[in-house]
Symmetry: C2
Subunit: 488 residues, 2 copies
């Protein structure tokens, strides 16, 4: 359409637009500067270790640069000193594990490739002046192609990618350098010593000034992810079963709903968890994390948490759907559903805090059992749904779906609980003193009777495992309410 209009008008419009843009420039750039400043501040406040890391890199680099600067290197390009600077820049990672992983990769790859390069040079020299470049060319080609291909193996990519790059680099440089072995040894000594200086500077600064441990970060991340799920589930009941008026939901609360969003980060946490676990393997013993800490188990817990997050994502679709179930049915299932969700949330919360404090998780079992009881209560509640409303199956479907997904979440939480218990075994979490006296604890062995730890008084919850809700009801007909408690 615009093509048909006169060009002069177009030009004028362009000019006006450009002028407007120029006029707006100072204001805009000011706004932009403020925005950048704010996001910078936020980045730093979110994790002050970022600021410290930046200062650490600056410090390492300044130290190494001045070493380089102060040495009498004016009689050349100062190659050797340069390598110290380069080493610091490429090696210094945010976490100590990352720094060590890069450093060790660099070290081993350089040594191996250096030796191979010397061998290649020696081999090539046997073919005379004319044959030498050809043989060297073939060797470099073969080794570079083969090494590059190994980078496609997922395991090598994850752990040794940097090492392979340095391997190709060093091999090419050494084999092609054309130096004789004696000269090379001097150079290698020079280069190795400066690389060592650079590497040691990185490691020392990284390790002794506010170290950032990848393992600890992974540990905290797994715990906080579980906590995000817990927050959602604890809040879900209140959010879904809001007070209803005139058949429509009344949004009474304008409070912070951020707890409904936190789980979304868990959905995409796979790659970051894997890279952290990978770095964590290189880290030395620190704090309560031993040398053979079961980092793989963290990945398992993480995978199960993601599984739970997927279910929550499905659940979340129903939280504000217009297609709300009929009031009566909702009232019937409100109590057991809220209980399922809340108990799952509590179970996850205590699992998260068990991970955080590295204690053997105990109380979560109670909440898992409670949530299972709630599942049974839900089944019983359904029996009492009055019969004349059979026309309304359609109306109860969304609420029924919510309940059904919650039942899946209960299963999921049980699996998370098992995997966290396994983790606590493998990682030798410290066990807390049991809060029940020995004579009571023999009851606990029977599996179905669990102490309630959160109360002040001693309670036991008796869950009678029955395949169907029927059997349960007949065994315990006088107690159709939730979480039957038997004061001891």
């Amino acid at each position: 359409m615009e093509m048909d209009q006169p060009t002069i008008q177009q030009k004028a419009r362009h000019f006006t637009r450009a002028w407007g843009w120029v006029k707006a420039l100072p204001g805009e750039s000011k706004a932009k500067a403020i925005k950048v400043a704010k996001s910078t501040q936020k980045l730093g406040e979110d994790d002050p270790r970022r600021v410290i890391h930046s200062l650490k890199v600056g410090l390492a680099l300044t130290l190494v640069s001045l070493l380089y600067y102060s040495r009498p290197l004016y009689d050349g390009f100062g190659v050797a000193g340069m390598w110290a600077v380069i080493t610091v820049i490429v090696m210094f990672e945010f976490t100590l594990g990352g720094t060590l992983s890069k450093g060790l990769n660099r070290g081993f790859a350089t040594l191996l490739a250096g030796a191979l390069g010397l061998g290649a040079q020696h081999l090539a020299s046997l073919f005379g002046r004319k044959g030498q470049p050809v043989v060297l060319g073939i060797l470099v080609f073969l080794l570079a192609a083969a090494s590059t291909f190994t980078r496609f193996f997922p395991r090598i990519k994850a752990r040794y990618d940097y090492g392979v790059v340095i391997f190709i680099l060093t091999f090419s440089l050494v084999s092609v350098s054309g130096y004789r072995v004696e000269e090379l040894l001097v150079l290698a000594h020079q280069r190795l010593s400066t690389v060592l200086i650079g590497g040691a500077t990185c490691i020392v600064i990284s390790m002794f000034i506010c170290p950032v441990w990848a393992g600890e970060d992974l540990h905290k991340l797994i715990a906080s992810n579980i906590e995000e799920l817990a927050k959602y589930l604890e809040g879900f009941g209140g959010e879904y079963f809001q007070p209803v008026e005139d058949g429509r939901n009344v949004k009474v609360s304008n409070t912070d709903k951020s707890f409904l969003q936190g789980y979304k980060n868990v959905l995409n946490s796979k790659s970051i968890e894997e890279s952290m676990a990978n770095f964590a393997r290189w880290e030395p013993r620190h704090g309560r994390f031993g040398f053979r800490h079961p980092w793989k188990q963290y990945l398992k817990v993480g995978a199960l948490s993601r599984q739970c997050a997927y279910q929550i994502e499905a659940l979340n679709g129903y939280i504000n759907s217009d297609n709300q179930a009929r009031l009566e049915f909702r009232c019937k299932i409100q109590e057991p559903c809220t209980k399922m969700s809340t108990e799952c949330g509590k179970a996850l919360k205590s699992l998260a805090s068990a991970i955080k404090t590295m204690t053997v998780p105990s109380s979560p079992n109670v909440h898992v059992e409670n949530s299972k009881t709630a599942v049974n209560d839900f089944k019983i509640a359904l029996k009492t749904v009055s019969l004349e409303q059979d026309q309304d199956i359609l109306a109860i479907i969304p609420a029924a779906t919510v309940a059904s997904i919650l039942i899946e979440i209960v299963k999921c939480v049980e699996r998370i609980s098992e995997s966290v218990h396994e983790l606590s075994n493998l990682a030798h979490f410290k066990s807390e003193e049991p809060t029940v006296s020995p004579d009571k604890s023999q009851f606990l062995r029977r599996g179905s009777i669990k102490p309630v730890l959160e109360g002040d008084t001693d309670h036991f919850i008796i869950t009678i495992h029955g395949k169907s809700a029927d059997s349960r009801e007949s065994e315990n007909p006088q107690a159709p309410k939730l979480g039957q408690r038997l004061d001891v």
Copy 2:
């Protein structure tokens, strides 16, 4: 327990174990070698471009090395030529976009940092011999710390991370080198020319020998992800509503169930999609991908596909659950549910093929409409569920949940369809000739009447949009069956 046993027995056991290990070594290493060979072969067969990429890197490196080797560099460490080798190794990425991104980052960062470094050196020289190292140290510290901090900005991390590293590197090297400006210019010239040689070699080989385009890969990935979802949904109906005998499902088919697993890759595709979109931005016009191809829209389609995959993950929990719904109810909903699922699958399949062939998607709308019709059919079908079975609400919940999740998937597919249409607009997909004659197409404008394109004869599906199933039934009481077709 083991600690209590005699140590001699322990030692003997250790020895036996070690000996067994030694004996098994040749066999094991042979098995391992075969395993590695097989996985190597698989890697190459899965994507032959990996082999080609490795050969390309080998070629580039050989060319640059020989250039370096053949030049008379024996009178020094051959620093300049070395930079060509280093450039090739760090710059050569699998995709052209990756290579270009690194090359441009490297180029701009080097120039900028070089200029700043010279300035810093000049500034420092004003402070005399004693002040110079102090001033230089402070400058390097400040710049390195500030630059390192910028790497925490997600946008900079995604696009310019390598540039920032090279910036710090070059600035430190230049500012600390201690050369006078005239000398530096000579060196800069030398270094820049060799870096250019290395970079140009990479780009030429990367671009002209079997180029791998990140953009094309992203395009194909998005299409194939949608296809995986389609496969699942097309197969779901048959899998869930298997023939039932004696109240238990009979697993008649031992056929390939891989279609049930494909969607799992979609769950974690976020990071790879983002990095590809990031590389794609740097790529020049190629094939049907213009310079301003809407890569962001691909990310939107990808996000919606993931959303759908999360729903499928929730659905997948029910596919083999023991808790199967009562037969009669299942029979009632089988037809509409299978239809919902199949039509969603077909819609996604045609969307995927529209993306692949870069044509404006047309027929998907029909399938989306069909799936919506199936949702209505489902609602009608529920009305006819007989009333005496009201005790069994519990038994129908799993099947009802499946239906409810399928309804969510229908909504999700509709959103995917919309975003693919938007993509086809933004990316100027070519439009196919309409298969309906003009006089019929005016019907189509009314929105609710859509042509069925898959058949040979001309059909129209009339979907009467009504808020509730009731209104629909009263408007069209004689046609309670699925997909009312009106032969024209």
